[in-house]
């Protein structure tokens, strides 16, 4: 138990000391995962809503597939993106391998199904509730997507946060496509993996505590914004 206590202690020490390298890693983690979440939301939210309201043959199969893709193993995503971006791969000319962009791409692939599947569920419930009203004001099924997305925005935040949680915590994909290059593609999770492999377990755990704090801060900030906005909305 001494390990935990001293790790906790040294993690606060690291935060307080304002270690420049640590901050660079923290900011890169945030930059990669927040960008991935934004892109995945732009794709996933409308996709989820579309699956919730549309009626077409094969829709159920698509829903099951997207639900299953929530369980995509990060290391498989990393491998697929690596094979695409490798100089021997179809997108090698873009020269994106071992850059933060490659890490963003991998995380987008990983979390878009999560955001799509969860928002499909949320919008479907809303749609069932407001179906008659939406039809009575003359909106078609697809036309009601923007209204439903706007109306469900606070619940949809949870879907987005689930995506963020997966992205920021994930190591298997980013270590393959990013290469864990110091000062270039080293993020919190790959640093933790590296320090563990160096046998610096205390430092690794301390970094883990900081990562957890980071996730906590982002979640708190989002729920704070959500609360504030909700109050103004109903005032």
């Amino acid at each position: 138990m001494q390990d935990f206590a001293s790790s906790l202690h040294s993690s606060f020490g690291m935060i307080l000391s304002g270690d420049a390298q640590l901050w660079a890693i923290v900011l890169l983690s945030l930059r990669v995962s927040l960008t991935a979440v934004m892109i995945a939301s732009v794709i996933g939210l409308p996709l989820g809503a579309f699956l919730a309201v549309s009626r077409f043959r094969g829709r159920q199969i698509l829903v099951v597939m997207i639900n299953a893709l929530m369980g995509l193993p990060p290391v498989v995503v990393g491998l697929l993106v690596y094979l695409m971006l490798s100089n021997s791969g179809p997108l090698g000319v873009l020269q994106l391998l071992y850059t933060p962009t490659a890490m963003i791409i991998a995380q987008v692939v990983l979390i878009t199904p999560i955001i799509a599947a969860l928002s499909r569920q949320i919008i479907q419930v809303l749609d069932a509730e407001y179906d008659e009203q939406l039809r009575s004001i003359g909106l078609s099924r697809l036309g009601s997507i923007p209204v439903l997305l706007w109306d469900g925005r606070y619940n949809l935040l949870t879907a987005v946060l689930a995506g963020f949680g997966r992205a920021i915590a994930e190591v298997g994909a980013v270590i393959i496509v990013g290469g864990n290059i110091n000062h270039v593609t080293r993020v919190m999770t790959t640093s933790i993996a590296l320090e563990t492999s160096k046998g610096n377990l205390e430092l690794a755990l301390a970094l883990g505590v900081i990562l957890l704090l980071l996730a906590l801060i982002v979640n708190a900030a989002v729920s704070f914004i959500g609360q504030g906005a909700r109050q103004t909305a109903y005032a």
């Binding site: 930059r31 100089n87 021997s88 791969g89 290469g179 590296l194 492999s197 160096k198």
Partner: protein
């Protein structure tokens, strides 16, 4: 409203961080975990970067994976430690030429109570045979890395078929050196490691070096420029400049100067 604006601003600041870097020339070096985990590259690269203005980006994986990545053209220079694989990499046309850079040696480490009674041995093949006979747990990298390949060569000299014992006393982690050391220590098992990783390893518990000094434990590192004829994107000039520096007087001196706890980790032996 103010909240939302400040939130958006904060996000934009975070997203823009680090994007403003000037595009400094850089090369990608596919290397092994031992050169990175031991801290060697962190110690010597700044000197090269300052002299040449070329940034060196290191991807540290096992030798097997490093060679595969280089074969795909995902790197400019290969810095690894499995001479037979390196030579076939060059022979197959993927690399231009192989240069000796430095060496150290492998050691077998084990728990202080030494259940197989091999402490102090210098005949590594006899020590491995002893372990197999007493069925003491031995942890292997099992990941096609340079260390794994060296270990397999030693086992083949014992005439023991470790694959048949896989999962019993012979356990393959399929992981990097550090992860494998952590696993072995957790199981109180013997494990073969390169000396550099061992000296710099932070979670040694009561483990000690049991077997060392056998010439068969020699561990040679080599550098190869990935062939630009195969992969036109290879930065041949910058990559070769790095190899020239590594094998030249300055690089060799930097390698020799790197120490942990007063112990030298790598011994330069480039042909000059």
């Amino acid at each position: 409203m103010l909240r939302r604006i400040s939130f958006t601003v904060a996000i934009m600041v975070i997203l823009s961080v680090g994007k403003g870097h000037a595009d400094k020339p850089f090369i990608i070096v596919q290397s092994t975990t031992s050169t990175q985990n031991s801290g060697l590259l962190d110690a010597i690269l700044p000197e090269f970067e300052e002299q040449s203005g070329i940034e060196v980006r290191v991807v540290a994986v096992g030798t097997g994976q490093a060679i595969r990545n280089a074969t795909n053209g995902d790197g400019d220079v290969l810095l690894v430690h499995s001479k037979p694989s390196e030579e076939s990499f060059v022979a197959d046309g993927w690399g231009v030429q192989r240069f000796d850079v430095m060496y150290n040696d492998f050691v077998i480490v084990g728990p202080a109570d030494d259940p197989a009674g091999i402490a102090g041995r210098s005949d590594v093949v006899a020590a491995l045979s002893e372990m197999a006979k007493s069925q003491t747990v031995f942890v292997s990298r099992g990941d096609d890395s340079g260390t794994h390949k060296a270990e397999q060569r030693l086992w083949s000299e014992t005439g023991i078929d470790v694959n048949a014992a896989s999962g019993t006393w012979y356990r393959e982690t399929g992981s990097g050196m550090g992860a494998t050391l952590n696993t072995a220590i957790g199981m109180q098992a013997y494990v073969m490691t390169d000396r550099a990783t061992w000296i710099s390893f932070g979670n040694k518990d009561d483990y000690q070096i049991m077997v060392q000094g056998d010439p068969r434990l020699f561990n040679q590192y080599g550098a190869i420029l990935v062939n630009p004829d195969k992969h036109p994107n290879v930065k041949a000039d910058a990559g070769q400049a790095f190899i020239d520096w590594l094998t030249g007087a300055d690089g060799q001196a930097a390698i020799a100067a790197y120490q942990i706890d007063g112990q030298q980790l790598f011994f330069p032996n480039a042909v000059q």
